[in-house]
């Protein structure tokens, strides 16, 4: 039995900043100090504060170390683990107060969070099924199989108000009810873990930190709709998640929690993995099922909906990872508990991946209805370098931007749609005054053009034309007619595309047009990029009053565009200038400006 547990984050973020070596060194040092029977080292999932990784928490004191390096480990072991003196210089600043160490739950980052889907992430060892059972794992499955009918389960979900966390927000209970109502010899339960939005990593963290929660919920779903087989469709770009899922599935089979006659109830259920090859469109439900069937991942028209004719032509339900992660908790704590969190039409919590221009890059889970201001300023720690907030992008390539004027909007499904964005799967990218909104729209369009599967014309050709117009705008070649054409094209693509990818592809353009039309007009009419991003519209010049003639700029210029003699003001030849900005970065006198 261990008196102290050292939890080290083994999520993708911290693993890429070196947590695997830290764990190795830690185990060595613990042994060296003869502590191997007293101190347990546990590799967990994501703690959420990825910006400060690698992260390590020492229990029972809950000491939070951030940005730990391998060289720090001997000191942590001999000072803290052996002698009980926390290494102050490595503590997370927020937890250090004048009187001592503040509890983690009191820090700004964690204070307003409420963890339901992420409750075990960063707490348990995801590769040990017994730790999951120790936190009440598989109790919900036991309860469902021994005390509840399939209709009870569905009614509980309906009462809880849980809506799909993958983006659409369709009521989960209703989806299950429809699938249950369709009789068939075989039905399927699928999990969508093909998280493809740029900047989103909520599902990855749940799979890495708490894979059994997803397995348990899928088994519950199987019981509710009458399915005996489940598939998890996970992208191959998530190697840690795939590995932990494989371990979790084999452990669950070994413990009899998957397989035949679970809890002697006569209910059989098993789960297999299918790896996606990285096509964004495979996150769309019909394309995903086509891909599981072994065909090229392309969507097909609906109806028939998956609940009628889904995988292999059989009734199928498909839910997102985060949706599943909520379900065991709803079963154990009741529908009222879940419905007590959130807003009128959006219950519970939502996980967001914070990225972009924000101090606390990472993963947060907040009750629905939390305002964008709270998320960005309090939990996210604000915008670096004292810059001003310009917009937040939610919903990835299918979503839109929320401008500063809606900073106090409570985040839920309906509010976001009412202002032309969407909840999406939970990516939240923060932009400051240095970001050009036309450039952002272009970024997402480039992504959709790349990822369009090509099956239907509006999406295949339409998005390409949109991107061409956007390129014209950022190159300063566009006219106001182009802008009208762009807008018309948006509506055309929205209404005529086959699947969700095409139907939502114009959203980044539409929402930036709605809130930042002036920026588009500045590119077209004044041939200027107000944020100073679009290269073709910038010009660099040297202020002869400030230039001391140090020659540094002419030496760093990659294209020899700057000329001048020593101690005389230099000049930029704008025809040769490639606008790389190297000279401006190097100038010590602030003589070079960009307009």
């Amino acid at each position: 039995m261990f008196r102290s547990h050292v939890l080290v984050c083994g999520g993708t973020g911290c693993t890429s900043s070196g947590s695997a070596e830290i764990i190795k060194k830690l185990e060595e040092e613990v042994k060296k100090n003869g502590l191997e029977n007293e101190v347990g080292v546990v590799r967990t999932g994501c703690f959420g504060l990825c910006a400060l990784g690698p992260i390590m928490i020492v229990y029972p004191e809950a000491t939070f170390y951030s940005m730990v390096k391998v060289e720090d480990i001997p000191e942590i072991v001999s000072e803290h683990l052996l002698k009980g003196r926390p290494v102050k210089r490595l503590l997370y600043d927020e937890t250090v107060t004048e009187t001592g160490v503040k509890s983690l739950g009191d820090t700004d980052f964690y204070k307003k969070q409420h963890r339901v889907a992420l409750r075990n992430c960063g707490v348990i060892n995801p590769e040990n099924i017994e730790e999951y059972i120790g936190t009440n794992g598989y109790a919900a499955l036991g309860k469902v199989l021994t005390e509840m009918t399939p209709d009870d389960v569905i009614q509980t979900l309906l009462d809880s108000g849980l809506r799909g966390r993958g983006g659409g927000g369709f009521p989960t209970g209703l989806k299950w009810k429809l699938a249950k109502g369709n009789d068939a010899d075989q039905k399927y339960v699928c999990c969508n873990a093909d998280e493809g939005d740029p900047g989103a990593f909520m599902d990855r963290s749940v799979l890495e930190g708490d894979p059994h929660a997803v397995l348990e919920a899928m088994a519950i779903a199987g019981y509710a709709i009458g399915a005996s087989q489940g598939y998890i469709y996970v992208r191959a770009e998530y190697p840690i998640a795939v590995q932990r899922l494989q371990i979790a599935i084999s452990q669950a089979r070994e413990y009899g929690l998957l397989g035949k006659n679970i809890f002697e109830s006569g209910f059989d259920f098993d789960i297999d993995l299918r790896l996606g090859a990285g096509a964004f469109v495979c996150g769309e439900e019909t394309a995903l099922m086509t891909s599981i069937e072994g065909n090229r991942g392309e969507p097909r028209p609906r109806p028939p909906f998956p609940a009628q004719k889904g995988l292999f032509g059989k009734p199928t339900i498909l839910n997102n990872v985060e949706t599943y992660a909520n379900i065991p908790q709803i079963i154990l704590n009741g529908a009222e508990w879940f419905a007590s969190m959130g807003t009128e039409k959006s219950k519970g919590t939502k996980v967001f991946a914070l990225g972009g221009k924000i101090n606390n890059t990472g993963l947060v889970e907040i009750p629905m209805g939390t305002t964008l201001r709270e998320v960005i300023e309090e939990i996210g720690g604000g915008i670096p370098n004292g810059k001003k907030f310009k917009a937040a992008q939610t919903g990835g390539p299918s979503g839109g931007c929320i401008p500063a004027e809606h900073f106090d909007i409570p985040i839920d499904y309906d509010n976001l749609i009412s202002i032309g964005s969407m909840m999406g799967s939970g990516g939240l990218i923060v932009m400051d005054e240095d970001d050009c909104m036309v450039d952002i729209a272009k970024f997402f369009l480039e992504f959709t053009v790349d990822e369009s599967c090509g099956k239907c014309t509006p999406c295949r050709i339409g998005t390409k034309r949109m991107l061409e117009i956007l390129n014209k705008i950022t190159d300063g070649q566009a006219t106001m007619e182009d802008l009208d054409k762009l807008e018309e094209l948006c509506y055309y693509i929205k209404e005529n595309s086959l699947c969700g990818l095409g139907q939502t592809a114009p959203n980044p353009v539409l929402s930036t047009l709605k809130f930042f039309r002036k920026e588009y007009e500045a590119h077209i009419l004044d041939k200027k990029c107000p944020a100073g991003v679009c290269k073709a519209l910038l010009s660099y010049s040297i202020d002869p009053e400030k230039c001391r003639g140090c020659t540094l700029c002419s030496r760093v210029c990659p294209n020899n565009a700057i000329t001048g003699t020593l101690k005389e003001p230099h000049v930029i030849d704008t025809t040769k200038c490639v606008k790389c900005g190297a000279c401006m970065e190097k100038c010590r006198f602030g003589a070079i400006s960009r307009k």
Binding site: R3, E38, G84, S103, E130, I133, F263
Partner: protein
């Protein structure tokens, strides 16, 4: 696994071990002095004995942790018990057996084991 009882057995076994990872300000803190002086006079077995007993006996409201030099090196191993809202109790010259008495009488029974406290020592 065949039954809910087996699931419950695993849960109970693991609960205390995973429970160490919960934060709770209403917990009783048991602190063992683990500076050089403490270790030299035998604080480590005391710490492990306390930690094991607390987990075995499912005392979920008790947290066992270590601290540095308390300053009374000649009285080490020192164990302090801090209950929320109560005055700190300092036990001195501890060993694993005495520690077990403290667990039984103080942490479980709520009665301070006066004979081992600092107050009983004749400090000059």
């Amino acid at each position: 696994m065949k039954s809910l009882e087996e699931l419950k057995a695993i849960r109970d076994k693991m609960k205390n071990q995973v429970g160490i990872r919960a934060e709770d300000e209403h917990q009783t803190r048991v602190v063992v002095g683990m500076a050089t002086c403490g270790i030299a006079s035998g604080a480590r077995p005391v710490l492990t004995a306390l930690s094991n007993a607390v987990q075995e006996k499912d005392l979920s409201n008790v947290m066992v942790t270590q601290t540095g030099c308390i300053g009374l090196c000649q009285y080490e191993p020192i164990v302090e018990v801090m209950e929320p809202g109560k005055e700190k109790v300092t036990y001195v010259k501890m060993n694993p057996d005495k520690a077990m008495e403290v667990v039984e009488q103080h942490l479980i029974g709520g009665k301070v084991v006066v004979k081992y406290t600092l107050a009983q020592e004749d400090i000059k």
